[in-house]
Symmetry: C2
């Protein structure tokens, strides 16, 4: 099971902008973002445009312009974000290679897969962009305790 690259990079962009938001330079250009996440600039521009449509980032024009997190971004849930970013198509393609006689229309499996997809998103409804930003901003060189006892 895979999320689209579009959502994947969208999440990385939000985490990068989250880091920037804690500094004196909360705005980044699309070129800077593309460089930071090592993705093509045209692709990043499309994703930023989508994120702006969702209202989670905003673009500021002018010389000191760029993209920055919207004020409401931290409170957005990841479940909601992914529902907006992911295509609305079913997790299986009932129309290819040829229209499936089972998977189309009122097919039971199709309904259950849609419910399972909703369960996936719902599981992320209590995770917020603020949580991702906090996690992205914590020092990465600090070893994380896995709960294992220390060997003396």
């Amino acid at each position: 099971m895979q999320l689209t690259r579009f959502s994947d990079l969208g999440l990385r962009i939000l985490m990068r902008l989250g880091e920037a938001s804690a500094t004196d330079s909360p705005r980044m250009t699309v070129a800077d973002l593309a460089d930071a996440i090592e993705a093509p600039e045209t692709h990043v521009a499309k994703i930023v445009s989508r994120l702006a449509g969702i209202g989670v980032v905003r673009s500021v024009r002018g010389r000191a312009g760029g993209v920055q997190l919207a004020e409401s971004a931290p409170s957005l849930s990841v479940g909601r974000l992914l529902r907006e970013m992911e295509p609305k198509t079913p997790v299986i393609d009932c129309s290819a290679p040829s229209p499936c006689p089972y998977l189309e229309g009122d097919c039971l499996l199709r309904h259950r897969l849609a419910a399972a997809t909703e369960a996936f998103y719902r599981s992320l409804d209590d995770l917020h962009v603020a949580d991702l930003i906090a996690d992205a901003s914590r020092p990465r060189d600090t070893p994380v305790s896995l709960g294992l006892p220390h060997t003396p």
Copy 2:
């Protein structure tokens, strides 16, 4: 969000074999299956091999040989089947386009996406191959009531 084509076609193969199991000819050749689901025979052969590994179909050699549903197939849950069929990789690729500084290791998002994936599968744990077969076998020309009141 997308399941792999591998799982998608695997589900169609099981439904087709389920239909066949209710007839005098419960066995189908890989060529017949490929024809029925309009997929390349080499691909269908790989999927059948995986389904046999999971124990949901069995191959019978000889002149009247072919592939048929295993006896235990109807009781297999779709959640379990998809856990076996889908790759074990995360729903986002933390290593591409370059190793993500946020999404790797003990990243919060990675953990939560894994939990969401499990919620997806768990939602399908009470749906069984028998249910899919029953649904695939019912007459398709019967209009399904959507619970709307009839206009007199």
